[in-house]
């Protein structure tokens, strides 16, 4: 885990706890996000992502603990937090009879932008989120992808240094996801600190500097994707295919003792081992020397999904 001490984090959660009756939705969560970083918040449904984000967005209060945005406490100075934070919730606004441009203008006004500055902000946001062509449309006539972009536009119209996005990629088509990823990258390049959640690790792996995995309200791991990967990956798996005598290979491997979980999988044999690539090279040599006619020998590290499944393993009901 990278414990780089940031003296001036933009987002900071300190022993955050939120209880709903008997349910501990967020349980002692601590992490921080530095300026210009994208932080991925990953966990299955019901893990407590939305609850944590709503507390950060000053929409809910923690049972104990506190969180800070740009140095201001979300519990004590919500008014100051609000002007520095853009929140993109996991639902859409449903106001009737309002055009895209008017909608953004309304939020720009509500955040206290005046005159030319406001017009500039609205225009910038519309071009950033590629809503230029839709300015005269009412917001309830937009498609899901457009609504999501409008949601992002609303969250960034006052140019906040911190942005919080709750599952922004949920329900988007692949093209829209790529667009979203580019936008998030650009916002981070502009120096914004971004906290983005998802229940799919791979969705975030590429764009996040750091990820945290949360399950049943508890943080299970924090670090870069590689760090989590490396720390968790203790076993490699190997898949071998031989021309004949697959059964014999299985017995031979089991007899060796350094391979476990040997399984026959059609014409393939799969196994797990604790070693590294050296061990695999030795293994291949030994198999060939033992007289098996190998046609395929592949090794693969666990995928991110596998890591994620194992990290959260046993906790999912």
């Amino acid at each position: 885990m990278s414990e780089v001490i940031d003296t001036n984090p933009q987002i900071e959660l300190i022993h955050l706890q939120r209880r709903f009756g008997p349910v501990m939705a967020v349980d002692d969560v601590c992490f921080s996000v530095s300026r210009g970083n994208v932080f991925g918040f990953i966990g299955p449904n019901g893990a407590g992502k939305t609850t944590s984000m709503r507390i950060l967005a000053t929409l809910d209060l923690p049972t104990s603990g506190d969180a800070f945005v740009d140095g201001f406490s979300v519990t004590q100075d919500p008014d100051r937090v609000r002007t520095r934070l853009g929140f993109m919730p996991d639902y859409f606004d449903t106001q009737p009879n309002i055009l895209v441009e008017e909608y953004l203008d309304f939020f720009a006004r509500s955040y206290g932008l005046m005159g030319a500055e406001r017009q500039r902000a609205v225009r910038y946001v519309m071009s950033f989120t590629k809503l230029d062509g839709l300015r005269e449309k009412t917001i309830d006539s937009l498609s899901k992808g457009m609504k999501q972009r409008l949601c992002l536009g609303r969250a960034m119209v006052h140019d906040p240094p911190v942005m919080i996005m709750d599952e922004p990629a949920a329900g988007l088509d692949p093209r829209a996801r790529i667009q979203l990823r580019e936008m998030i990258g650009q916002l981070a390049a502009d120096g914004k600190s971004i906290l983005v959640s998802s229940h799919i690790l791979t969705e975030l792996a590429e764009m996040c500097d750091t990820v945290a995995i949360i399950e049943q309200g508890k943080l299970l791991a924090v670090g870069t994707v590689e760090e989590i990967h490396r720390a968790r990956q203790t076993q490699r798996s190997v898949r071998v295919r031989v021309l004949e005598n697959t059964e014999g290979l299985c017995n031979w491997l089991e007899a060796r003792g350094d391979a476990h979980n040997v399984q026959r999988d059609g014409p393939h044999v799969t196994l797990l081992h604790d070693g590294d690539q050296e061990t695999e090279a030795d293994l291949l040599r030994d198999v060939v020397t033992a007289g098996f006619r190998v046609v395929a020998f592949g090794s693969h590290a666990e995928s991110l999904e596998d890591v994620f499944m194992r990290v959260t393993e046993g906790l999912v009901q």
């Binding site: 100051r80 002007t83 449903t94 309002i98 309304f106 939020f107 509500s110 500039r120």
Partner: protein, 561 residues
């Protein structure tokens, strides 16, 4: 502002201002822009939305059509006589009903509905996390609704103006009626917003909606009958007319402020100070009531006036106290930041700081102030003032209805203050104990205090009824715990309860003192909470904001340069 300051301007489309540089028109446009910057964002948004709303357009045209239909129908019915007889009044009255229905029912309900729906479908959440605070949102809603009121009014304005041509009405009366109705509509809109603010946001607030609708219809019918009476009697010529108006204006302002602040409290996060402003408004309302009743005593000298003041104040403070004594005793760091710096300041102003013990003191302080004033109103000094002001000559009451003897009023006051001290004090102790297990919701506060009051009233009743010897007696000293009956005996019957006076005025204050003493540890605990230091980051930000405000005080209007 990193991303916004980029050279976007290069791609900006040519605005009207660029095409017509320096013309009057461009300056006017710019001025309009500045004007709209000053407006509440919600007002601007709702104005745009309602222009596009079909329901709004339909209501408007319905009113327009109804006005014209009645104009033609009414004239046809009244015939040429309309211009000679006093038929103007009936013409106007129908117009008035066409106007009052949307103003007093539709508009307040839509104020309620719009906030309730936004809270339910979470549009409100998105607005609440902007720089608009609860005050800004409520004012925005009120002004958005005010705009609709203006539009409805203008739809019917030609018809109202037309009645002026008819006999039997003067323009001033018409104007007054319209102004009263608009003020009432504004007040009811605030009531609607209050209902929406107290409704839990997750569920569809059906109960609140039904209660509000019933209330609005009731007010509508009362208003219609009062206005019809008002139009028939030329009240304007009455010398007391403006005095009555003034006192109603004071009442109106107080009630409006209290409702507004209650709604604001509901919409503000718990760590902010949600009590002080409301408490000040309540104290001002009590002071106004005392002034109002004092004026009434000067004028009419009726004993019912003084007892009315005592009874109503006691009931009101019990009601308010229910909520206040259930407040959380732990002050948030945010609130503690703003506590007075000095110890004497802390002690002097403690009754305005949030918290149940300080609130208990606050209610008692107000009750005692009211009691002192009520007793003063019965003293010879006040009687002198009464004679001196010449008020007595206007309407001299018969001797039987003259001022209460001071002693009797004093007794009633002692009993009233004691009851408040006892019931709220015990309620506060119970709620404080319950708070250890769970948060105390407002409904719980009402339940506990009402239960206490009910037990106090019910227990002696049961004892008295179960004994055949006492069954048929009226008030007995046993009823000492029955605050409602006791206060009723004093105030409505206008005398101390038969045979119980001495017991009441000795026992109740003693019990009250005991309950008060039991609450002292809680008060000490509340007062001991130290002032919290302002976090350095907040001070930094305040300095930054102050610096920015100093820069932006330069003239910004194009007319100023």
């Amino acid at each position: 502002m990193s991303s916004l300051d980029e050279p976007l301007a290069a791609g900006e489309p040519a605005e009207l201002a660029d095409v017509l540089p320096g013309t009057k028109w461009a300056r006017f446009e710019e001025w309009l822009g500045h004007l709209s910057d000053r407006l509440n964002p919600i007002l601007v948004k709702e104005a745009r939305q309602s222009l596009r709303s079909r329901q709004f357009a339909m209501t408007f045209f319905l009113m327009l059509i109804a006005g014209w239909v009645w104009s033609i129908l009414g004239l046809a019915l009244l015939g040429p006589g309309a211009y000679y007889s006093a038929a103007g009044q009936s013409m106007f009255f129908v117009y008035y009903m066409i106007l009052a229905a949307p103003l007093l029912i539709v508009i307040p309900y839509s104020a309620y509905h719009s906030l309730a729906i936004e809270r339910q479908d979470r549009t409100y959440e998105l607005v609440s996390i902007t720089a608009l605070d609860a005050t800004g949102i409520l004012l925005g809603k009120l002004s958005g609704i005010g705009l609709q009121r203006m539009v409805y009014l203008s739809a019917l304005f030609p018809c109202l103006a037309f009645t002026y041509l008819l006999r039997g009405l003067n323009l001033f009366t018409v104007l007054l009626v319209v102004v009263y109705t608009c003020l009432l509509s504004l007040f009811l809109s605030q009531v609607g917003l209050f209902f929406a603010a107290v409704a839990p946001p997750q569920r569809k607030p059906i109960v609140q909606g039904v209660v509000l609708a019933a209330l609005l219809c009731f007010v509508f019918f009362v208003d219609i009958s009062m206005m019809s009476a008002f139009m028939r009697f030329d009240a304007v010529d009455d010398p007391e007319f403006w005095e009555v108006n003034l006192s109603f204006a004071v009442l109106y302002l107080n009630a409006f402020a209290i409702l507004f602040l209650c709604a604001r409290t509901q919409l503000t996060t718990v760590n902010q100070n949600r009590s002080t402003a409301l408490r000040i408004a309540l104290a001002v309302a009590q002071l106004s009531a005392v002034g109002w009743f004092a004026a009434a005593v000067l004028r009419w000298g009726d004993r019912h006036v003084i007892y009315g003041l005592i009874f109503l104040s006691t009931a009101a403070w019990f009601l308010v106290g229910m909520f206040i004594v259930g407040e959380s005793p732990a002050l948030s760091p945010r609130v503690r930041r703003d506590l007075p710096k000095s110890i004497p300041g802390r002690i002097m102003l403690s009754w305005l700081a949030p918290g149940p013990a300080s609130g208990y003191l606050f209610v008692l302080g107000n009750m005692i102030m009211m009691a002192v004033m009520a007793v003063v109103m019965t003293t010879p000094i006040f009687e002198e003032l009464r004679n001196f002001s010449g008020a007595s000559s206007i309407s001299n009451p018969p001797p039987s209805r003259r001022i209460v003897p001071s002693g009797e009023a004093l007794e009633a006051c002692i009993v009233a203050v004691s009851y408040i001290a006892i019931y709220l004090g015990v309620g506060k102790l119970i709620l404080g104990a319950m708070r250890r297990y769970d948060e105390i919701k407002p409904a719980m506060r009402i339940a506990v205090l009402m239960l206490l009051l009910g037990v106090g009233a019910g227990a002696p009743w049961i004892i008295q009824l179960s004994n055949p010897a006492t069954r048929n007696l009226g008030y007995t000293p046993l009823q000492i715990t029955n605050a409602v009956w006791t206060m009723w005996e004093y105030c409505a019957e206008g005398s101390r309860p038969p045979g119980a006076g001495p017991v009441l005025v000795t026992m109740l204050p003693i019990i009250a003192l005991c309950v008060w003493a039991l609450n002292l540890p809680g008060l000490a605990r509340e007062l001991r909470q130290a002032r919290a230091p302002t976090p350095p980051r907040v001070m930094e930000d305040e300095a930054e904001l102050a610096a920015r405000a100093a820069v932006s005080t330069e003239p910004s209007s194009p007319w100023d340069d």
